[in-house]
């Protein structure tokens, strides 16, 4: 930061992103969660999946750091493995809905004839509350990890599409797009190299938030008993399993719940930081 102020350059992306302590803490927190979920289980420090009925519902302590579940399995170990699936669902939904949203939004923003029908379709899709629509979709597709990703992607695609369309409408009128058109670039080239590359920042911010929302929604769906199949460990299925033992082992719900909250919170803080770093106009909000 010091060198930047000496040379009187405007602060760069990284300076703004890391200027706020909460963004840095959130980013570190999220990276730690991801590393823990993917690295710790490979080190075999915890007896993942080993059942010992004698130790069922052991409270957190020396033997089991975060306790043991109804089958005597180590909660910490399960939490880490389940985290992989939960994170994959979030990331999958973020990537899939962004990609679909980019295509729909660019087409709506570029072809005036398709704009009205696509925009009305987006309006209609967004009239369905997310959990309700996802619930119905999972009911129809069936409760597997892939289908939950597909259902939630359908739910969140209109949100991305709306943002992409709005940004496209602004960027397509800029002089450099006109110049590219005058030079004979094809519509596809203009769409991808000139427009898409310049509207990536709002899409990235939105994708971060969708990552967070999707993790929350997966947990919600699974809690309702219509999400991921109970045999696949996710943070949502762990909460759902723990519900039966709520009276004598509340920690079975608490730990996966806290894991979800921590991941979602850090993702949202990172999203906020990204938004401020990528769009200086919005800085006044902080």
């Amino acid at each position: 930061m010091a060198t930047v102020s000496q040379t009187h350059q405007p602060p760069g992306f990284r300076d703004v992103l890391f200027a706020r302590r909460s963004t840095v803490v959130a980013l570190v927190c999220f990276v730690v969660i991801v590393l823990a979920c993917y690295v710790l289980p490979t080190l075999d420090l915890t007896a993942i999946g080993k059942m010992s009925v004698r130790n069922r519902l052991t409270p957190p302590g020396a033997d089991y750091f975060l306790g043991a579940d109804a089958f005597g399995r180590d909660v910490l170990g399960r939490l880490l493995v389940a985290g992989q699936t939960s994170l994959q669902i979030g990331l999958g939904v973020a990537i899939l809905s962004s990609s679909a949203g980019i295509v729909i939004g660019l087409v709506a923003g570029f072809f005036r004839r398709l704009d009205t029908p696509l925009s009305r379709l987006i309006d209609a899709m967004m009239a369905f509350p997310d959990i309700l629509l996802a619930l119905s979709l999972v009911a129809i597709f069936g409760g597997t990890v892939g289908n939950v990703i597909l259902a939630l992607s359908i739910v969140y695609t209109p949100r991305v599409a709306r943002i992409v369309r709005a940004s496209t409408l602004v960027v397509r009128e800029l002089p450099y797009v006109e110049a590219a058109r005058a030079l004979g670039s094809s519509t596809l080239t203009i769409m991808v190299t000139h427009v898409l590359r310049n509207i990536l920042s709002p899409i990235l911010v939105q994708a971060t938030f969708i990552f967070a929302y999707a993790m929350l929604a997966e947990a919600g769906l699974t809690f309702l008993g219509v999400g991921v199949d109970p045999s696949t460990p996710t943070w949502g299925t762990m909460v759902n399993e723990g519900r039966q033992y709520i009276d004598n082992a509340f920690f079975l719900i608490l730990f996966p719940g806290v894991a979800i909250a921590l991941s979602v919170l850090s993702l949202q803080l990172v999203g906020d930081g990204l938004r401020d770093a990528l769009d200086p106009k919005l800085n006044k909000e902080t």
Binding site: R120, A127, L133, L137, G220, L224
Partner: protein
């Protein structure tokens, strides 16, 4: 103005028709024969054929669609396969807890979030501002079932301050029923207050930066009057928007909250319908909820239009 109203009205009708279309297509996306799926594995082919005829599933798809939209516009959303009753009358029976839950939690959310949002904007950058923004984000990150389960366990089961679950039984009077909704409303209200707080704070910050606020301060008006007379009056409009925005959030949250507190509302109905594959009920709930959303958003736009003279269309 008449032209704007007409355009908005036509837009609304188009969106509602699209909502009906999406709901129609959704149910037909299900793999396999819907009749066999609805009847379960024990059904004989004859039973499936009979149900298909009854539901009109053997008709050409265009005809099915036309019948479906025609009936829906007349207020007929089909019959539940589980209850053997019209979907609309089941939804009407289940509407009360959901409507009260939504209204009470909205009231609760506005009650805590609006003053804090306004004050945080006024004391921008202060400890209170930072902590309220952080806690709003935290509230939005905790899954609502976790908040609900913790509240239920601590405040209802352990301390006995609130009823644990349910809606007081079939003969309970209105106060008992509302009493059962306090804890669910607080749960849902906390989740939703996050959005309202951020929104109120942001719009109040905009207003405090306006020229007329500076003018009022410059001419020596007491700070209290600047806030109360100039700023607050103009903060009302964004709050109307937020009510429209939170509706979808309220319904999604209500589904989960009703499940936690075992309330006999529309959310619980739809989850059970999903578990029973009662497609007409799922379809009907989707249509009703989406239509209410469209109407609420039209209403907020119209209120805008009539309140804010600067809004030009």
């Amino acid at each position: 103005m008449a032209k704007y109203l007409l355009r908005r009205f036509v837009g609304m009708v188009v969106v509602i028709i699209l909502v009906l279309t999406i709901a129609f297509v959704l149910v037909r996306l299900a793999p396999g024969d819907p009749a066999a799926l609805m009847l379960g594995p024990d059904a004989t082919p004859e039973e499936a054929a009979e149900l298909r005829t009854r539901l009109g599933l053997d008709d050409p798809i265009i005809l099915q669609y036309a019948t479906f939209v025609g009936n829906a516009l007349k207020g007929d959303l089909g019959e539940s396969l589980f209850f053997n009753r019209p979907v609309t009358s089941i939804l009407a029976d289940r509407a009360e807890p959901t409507i009260f839950l939504a209204l009470m939690s909205l009231f609760f959310a506005l009650f805590i979030a609006t003053p804090i949002g306004i004050y945080a904007a006024y004391k921008r950058g202060s400890l209170l501002d930072q902590s309220s923004v952080t806690s709003a984000m935290l509230a939005a990150s905790i899954p609502s079932f976790l908040t609900g389960l913790v509240f239920q366990r601590v405040l209802a089961t352990n301390l006995g301050w609130f009823p644990t679950a349910g809606y007081g039984g079939p003969d309970a009077d209105i106060w008992v029923r509302l009493g059962h909704l306090i804890l669910p409303s607080i749960t849902l209200g906390i989740t939703n207050s996050a959005l309202i707080l951020r929104f109120t704070r942001a719009s109040m910050l905009d207003i405090l930066g306006e020229d007329y606020v500076r003018t009022a301060r410059a001419k020596g008006m007491p700070e209290r009057r600047v806030i109360l007379r100039h700023a607050l009056k103009n903060a009302g409009i964004p709050i109307i928007t937020v009510v429209g925005l939170t509706f979808a959030l309220l319904v999604s949250g209500a589904v989960v909250t009703e499940r936690v507190f075992n309330l006999p509302g529309m959310g619980n109905l739809v989850v059970n319908a999903v578990l029973r594959r009662d497609y007409p009920v799922i379809q009907g709930t989707l249509i009703i909820v989406a239509s209410i959303y469209v109407l609420i958003n039209l209403a907020t736009d119209l209120i805008y239009f009539f309140i804010d003279k600067r809004v030009k269309y």
